[in-house]
Point group: C2
Chain length 215, copies 2
């Protein structure tokens, strides 16, 4: 869980059917406040939470390198991958999740990736998740023994509006989430991630609680 | 690179054709001395070396849990996975390697896995590496842009004897490697990994330099 809107809604969807444990990554991202947000969200449903500190000293992303410029809007052309892409980030996160899930014999891994509205991260595409499923099937003890470990991507094909509406139905405390690429305490309102969040709430016809909480 | 015999030989094979950067993981393994060994091996060819500290707080392996018993010989039945299996370890290591390789636009990732002699780790099997290749092809920017990143497993189908012979031909300083599952300064000579190393040197007709260095 990143502490953002998408992963918060995914977490609340998972909670409906599963007893959850939460994994959070502190990986040198600009918006380090999202780690606290994620911990608060986990605590809001009394779910155990591990915060893993991981180091990506090679950076390679505007999210990790404060000297780089953050894009203020979506990719200019269909297919362009934005400067905020972090090399192999979801692959690393899911690999830790697979290890954790295997060690505690969990049934499923949930991840809040979505490929609509913001489809250019290669590691948010269905084809990547399909290949990752095969990889854990063949590269873990559990898979080799024929016991399945599900990888669930419940919001993969939802729009931001649908994600917001689903979150409201499930009672997600959106005031505790953080979507901005920059650090807190107040979201910048300008970066690509703020813009997408704003669009989601606007289309859902709801005022974003974070705007009230930050006033 | 783990600092063991296999990854040292793999490193020296890679050096023949590539300018190499080395990744080493300190992940709570019993034999933490292998980290120093790996750094020494990297330094022996003036290759830059990153040591990443990663936390696997869920353990799930006799290599991470000093209260667990280490097996002293190979798995009793074909297909049994030993207690030293670490959940999703190679998947995690390779995910970091993919991130590193992408960030510095490297041509290839080398890993010293081998599936002969000691074939029961699911994450040392060819089928796992094949699926991982597809995963990085679809889940990285580089893959999405159609630029290939090779994953090379040069000793996958070698015997321990062949690995030792290859290492001798390449001048691998075996006295700086560490294979024992336990920590130093002297290898226990009893664990499964020591037994396999001993077999490799015996079959190659060579005295293991580590036995001389530790005298």
């Amino acid at each position: 869980m990143s502490g953002g809107l998408d992963s918060a809604v995914t977490f609340y969807m998972a909670r409906k059917d599963y007893e959850c444990s939460v994994l959070v990554f502190n990986y040198g991202q600009r918006a380090v406040c999202e780690v606290d947000r994620a911990e608060k969200l986990a605590a809001s449903s009394s779910s155990p939470c591990h915060v893993l500190e991981i180091s990506l000293p090679w950076k390679g992303s505007a999210l990790l390198d404060t000297a780089a410029e953050l894009p203020s809007e979506g990719p200019s052309e269909k297919g362009d991958i934005p400067a905020t892409y972090v090399p192999a980030r979801n692959l690393i996160f899911l690999s830790f999740a697979a290890s954790f899930a295997e060690a505690q014999d969990a049934d499923a891994i949930f991840i809040g990736a979505h490929q609509l509205d913001f489809s250019n991260y290669p590691d948010c595409r269905e084809i990547f998740f399909e290949n990752f499923r095969e990889t854990i099937k063949t590269g873990t003890k559990r898979g080799a023994e024929g016991r399945s470990l599900q990888l669930v991507t419940p919001i993969l094909n939802m729009t931001k509006k649908e994600i917001v509406v689903t979150g409201i139905e499930l009672g997600v405390p959106f005031e505790h989430t953080w979507s901005c690429y920059n650090d807190g305490p107040v979201p910048c309102g300008k970066c690509e991630s703020c813009s997408l969040r704003e669009k989601g709430f606007r289309e859902a016809g709801v005022v974003d609680p974070i705007l009230i909480a930050c006033k």
